[in-house]
């Protein structure tokens, strides 16, 4: 079942065509990542899905509801979604606990406040004023406020910007736990390794259109592309592109009589593929 269905979505600002016909289907329970350079139409698309912007044309259904509808139905709908925006610096004079507890009161079926504080790792900071938090701690508070309402669908916009590597890993574990609880997640991120670690499927958007939707492993023909096999041969490092890397490694292995010195077999990273994809169409825009 599709939780989000978008067909022929268009949006212009004056002469700028930000979104030029986007189609998307996001299934229940998946982590779906939307990738694209700045100005590609990513933010506009997500903000239309979040009900922050109206569209020019096309159809949009999020949890079976048109996000640009207003009134009481819109409140019922917002009760079922969670949004973590890019940045916010408000309410510095409240504590973490007070803020999360206050937001929990907005929803009909919120998660337990202490459980949420625990899951974002802010237990030691629960009585600290928000203005004393570090950037990463603040971001975790943002996430806590996004999930306190026990949403069926969570929008995550650049969630780990400013995190140290350790904080990112523990954040990823949190997101994976949310998914295993049944939450559908739409993730926008600039970090390709983040998309690779978390997303079930990724979509690449550029110049207002979706170029490809695929799993991170298969995007841009990545799974079937040539592998690079590298090894040390005496003084120099040799490398070779190959369609059949296993065969090549076997040949090398028999040549070296077992262990191949400093053997590396690699395929292009998601980042390589992504940069190639947006690079090809990027020049026409600028």
């Amino acid at each position: 079942m599709s939780l989000i269905e978008v067909k022929g979505l268009k949006k212009s600002y004056g002469d700028t065509h930000a979104v030029r016909g986007v189609d998307l289907e996001i299934a229940q329970g998946e982590i779906f990542s939307l990738l694209g350079p700045n100005g590609a139409g990513k933010t506009t698309t997500v903000e239309i899905l979040e009900g922050f912007r109206t569209r020019d044309s096309g159809t949009v259904s999020v949890l079976g509801f048109d996000p640009q509808t207003r009134g009481h139905e819109s409140r019922q709908w917002r009760n079922r979604i969670g949004i973590v925006l890019q940045s916010s610096a408000d309410a510095g004079d409240l504590t973490v606990l007070e803020t999360i507890d206050h937001f929990s009161g907005y929803y009909s079926n919120p998660r337990a406040v202490d459980e949420v504080i625990h899951s974002v790792g802010l237990i030691e900071k629960e009585n600290a004023l928000i203005r004393t938090l570090s950037g990463g701690q603040r971001r975790r508070l943002d996430v806590a406020l996004g999930i306190i309402g026990n949403p069926e669908l969570l929008f995550l916009d650049e969630p780990t910007t400013g995190f140290d590597p350790e904080a990112r890993r523990s954040f990823w574990a949190l997101i994976q736990k949310l998914r295993s609880d049944g939450t559908t997640i739409l993730l926008t991120t600039h970090y390709l390794d983040e998309a690779e670690a978390l997303a079930d499927r990724v979509a690449v958007i550029n110049n207002g259109v979706i170029i490809e939707v695929s799993t991170p492993a298969e995007l841009g023909g990545r799974a079937t592309s040539q592998a690079t096999v590298a090894w040390r041969d005496g003084e120099i490092i040799k490398s070779e592109l190959s369609d059949n890397p296993t065969e090549l490694v076997a040949t090398l292995s028999s040549r070296f009589g077992g262990e191949v010195p400093e053997l590396v077999v690699s395929r292009p990273s998601l980042e390589d593929i992504y940069l190639e994809m947006i690079g090809g169409t990027h020049e026409t825009n600028s």
Binding site: G51, L94, Y107, N109
Partner: protein, 264 residues
């Protein structure tokens, strides 16, 4: 599934939170609540004249300060702080939750009303202790006072929320809003006796709520004999109610229709 909380109960919840936040910002507490008292102290000490039999300038000024306090703590505070909240992304975050706009507005109205009551108590206490202000004994005057405060702070809240769409950024908001309030105070008979102002100033002031609030407060704190000293030779109570209600309606209309949750 349980129903989502009502807009009114969330409004009360917002009001509690707003008061807690406000109370923790010490500088703004001191500025908002004590500034009118300091002004009263200065003006009351400088101008010791009697402007009519049994009416000192301090009494006249106290009525004006209570009225302009309604404008300061409501209109001015909201028209400056809401653009800041918008810049910080706080409003956009609220927009993304099931909390309705009306709850946000109710929360602001509660904050304004509570800070207004505290300010009035400070002004009255100070006026009684140091400037020989006497509280009215007529129950009707207290009834007038109650609806003036209720209607005035509602009006001031609604207009403050409505005007918050005007400043482009939080940083510039104070520069846009403060001059308007100060000019209104000069024109509306807060710092000077209204009847001594040029008539064009009086006419301009008569369009806006502050003039009517100051006149209303004079009807509470000055003897009834002073009514003959007003421009219309009466307190014009009925007209005051109508004008405040019209401004309240204007404020609510723009707040509901035009409120901006996001910077762009």
């Amino acid at each position: 599934m349980k129903p989502i909380p009502s807009a009114f109960s969330l409004g009360i919840r917002r009001g509690n939170l707003e008061i807690r936040q406000f109370a923790r910002q010490r500088e703004s507490v001191v500025f908002t609540l004590l500034f009118p008292v300091i002004l009263l102290a200065i003006f009351g000490s400088v101008f010791k004249d009697t402007i009519a039999p049994g009416v000192t300038f301090s009494q006249y000024f106290l009525a004006g300060m209570i009225a302009s306090g309604l404008v300061n703590t409501g209109f001015q505070a909201l028209a400056i702080t809401i653009p800041l909240e918008r810049d910080f992304g706080a409003l956009k975050r609220l927009r993304g939750t099931p909390m309705p706009a009306s709850s946000y507005f109710i929360g602001k109205a509660i904050l304004i009303f509570v800070s207004m009551v505290i300010q009035i108590l400070l002004l009255l206490g100070f006026g009684i202790l140091f400037f020989g202000v006497e509280l009215p004994t007529d129950i009707n005057k207290w009834i007038t006072f109650t609806w003036l405060v209720l209607l005035g702070s509602a009006c001031s809240t609604a207009l403050g929320i409505a005007f918050s769409i005007v400043p482009k950024s939080g940083r510039g908001a104070s520069a846009v809003v403060s001059p308007i309030v100060i000019i209104l105070q000069f024109f509306s008979g807060v710092f000077f006796v209204f009847t001594q102002l040029p008539s064009w100033m009086q006419q301009v002031a008569s369009i806006f709520p502050l003039k009517w609030l100051t006149q209303g407060m004079r009807s509470v704190f000055l003897p009834d004999s002073f009514a003959s000293q007003e421009v219309a030779k009466s307190w014009e109570t009925g007209k005051t109610v109508v004008i405040l209600l019209v401004w309240l309606a204007i404020g609510i209309f723009f707040s509901v229709r035009k409120f901006k949750w996001d910077r762009d």
